[in-house]
Symmetry: C2
Subunit: 272 residues, 2 copies
């Protein structure tokens, strides 16, 4: 586990055009592999687009785990020998859908995470997950996954961090909003803080491309275990591909002074 090449490819999925989104994501996977990426992160709901009107529309665009998009991602990950983390609209039973992300290893099983904290109108559409973010022992280190608004809950980031994650992959769709001139978008600031207080690497892949009046920050970022950006970290609402070579082993050292360890310094009995 020396340096691991991580890529975030910030793309513009098209709402409801699964065929286009499959082709776009396949091209991104092939491109990342050509760059020597060992881990590729794609946006939230890469497979379907984001701004659904209602659960019926989302259901019509959803896929089960053996659907064509996930099957293609799995095939490409295996052929090209890289790990892919990407968002999709997961078909559940009884007409329900989840805002999910797949963590796909070349040779291992596919791990699926369902977003537990839903943003805005997602609450009208998706069934939230109840399971903690998975932490998967991969060939390049221990990788966790969560999605977008999950990152705004520091307690949620603690769970995979305490479970030993080295790298947290986060497909996101950050809706754009006002911020003071010259300020780094707050979503990125929170990613930095989450990384530093856990000494965990985080790769967050945002999207671009307006959907039904919604614009996005375009703030994809890869931060190190001190919380400082190694790539991205600006609002750039256009296609971009971030590449960073991360010394993931640093996440195993949680000491930040001779007497401080970011996790052992916690006093959980006082937090209730």
């Amino acid at each position: 586990m020396s340096h691991v090449r991580v890529v975030c490819h910030q793309l513009a999925p098209r709402l409801g055009d699964a065929h286009y989104n499959r082709a776009l994501s396949a091209e991104a996977i092939r491109g990342a592999a050509a760059l020597g990426a060992q881990v590729l992160v794609l946006p939230e709901l890469m497979q379907s687009g984001y701004v659904f009107n209602d659960v019926q529309e989302a259901y019509a665009l959803s896929e089960p785990l053996d659907g064509p998009t996930l099957t293609l991602w799995k095939t490409l990950a295996s052929q090209l020998n890289l790990i892919v983390a990407a968002g999709f609209c997961e078909r559940l039973a009884d007409g329900k859908v989840a805002n999910s992300a797949a963590l796909i290893e070349p040779d291992g099983p596919m791990t699926v995470y369902r977003k537990a904290h839903l943003w805005d109108r997602e609450k009208l559409i998706f069934t939230p997950g109840d399971a903690p973010p998975p932490v998967v022992e991969t060939a390049v280190g221990r990788i966790a996954v969560m999605i977008c608004y999950d990152l705004e809950l520091p307690e949620w980031v603690r769970r995979p961090a305490l479970a030993g994650a080295d790298l947290l992959c986060a497909p996101v769709n950050w809706p754009d909003g006002p911020r003071p001139a010259g300020e780094r978008p707050g979503e990125i600031v929170r990613v930095q803080a989450n990384a530093a207080v856990n000494r965990l690497f985080i790769a967050a892949c945002d999207r671009h491309g307006q959907e039904r009046g919604v614009d996005w920050v375009g703030g994809s970022v890869i931060v190190d275990a001190d919380g400082y950006p190694q790539a991205g970290a600006v609002a750039h609402p256009a296609e971009q591909r971030l590449v960073a070579d991360l010394p993931l082993a640093q996440s195993r050292d949680k000491c930040i002074s001779a007497h401080n360890h970011v996790h052992q310094d916690r006093r959980p009995s006082l937090y209730r």
Copy 2:
């Protein structure tokens, strides 16, 4: 509770010179009052200085709650009608000391908080507090206090936030360290994140002035409930006085979308 004028005065206490530190803090309180401050935050261990060799040295410099420094602060706060939050080395029983902060209201009682998360060699010197950060209903809003490394534990900031704090006053002594060129110091980034995920204002007052080889970030900052700086937020290791007029009532609105509330969106049963 319209706009509340908050001042952070970043000063250089002198280790072991309580007389000098009293005079320096008294001057700061008078100066803040002259500026119309309703709340003044001074650094951690303002009364004593920071880099103690051992508990014996700290004990010799410590003061009880009716000691000369706290008595002076209380007198000035009453005379000048402002709230003062400042750090001091608190004398406990049996030769022990705490790294404490006093929240002093002009007419109310004095509230004392003891740092619960100790930094580096502080663990060899201070007895940590076990009580949560107090949240005091003052004339200008609900004010909480915590100290420096406490801010690095998001769970700890949640406690006063969930208890309804509008403004968190944080005396700090941030030791300087390496960071990438052009990057805002990580300590400030974490303050921003803590504020935003709770919709809480935070005023952190750092210090300057080398002590026994230790330099400080000089990163005093006042952030709004969105986590964006209203004053400070740069490494400026020299004297500086930050002034911000804060609409503290905004902290009572925890909604960040039509369907999201930063505290009600928490799912504590999943965080264990």
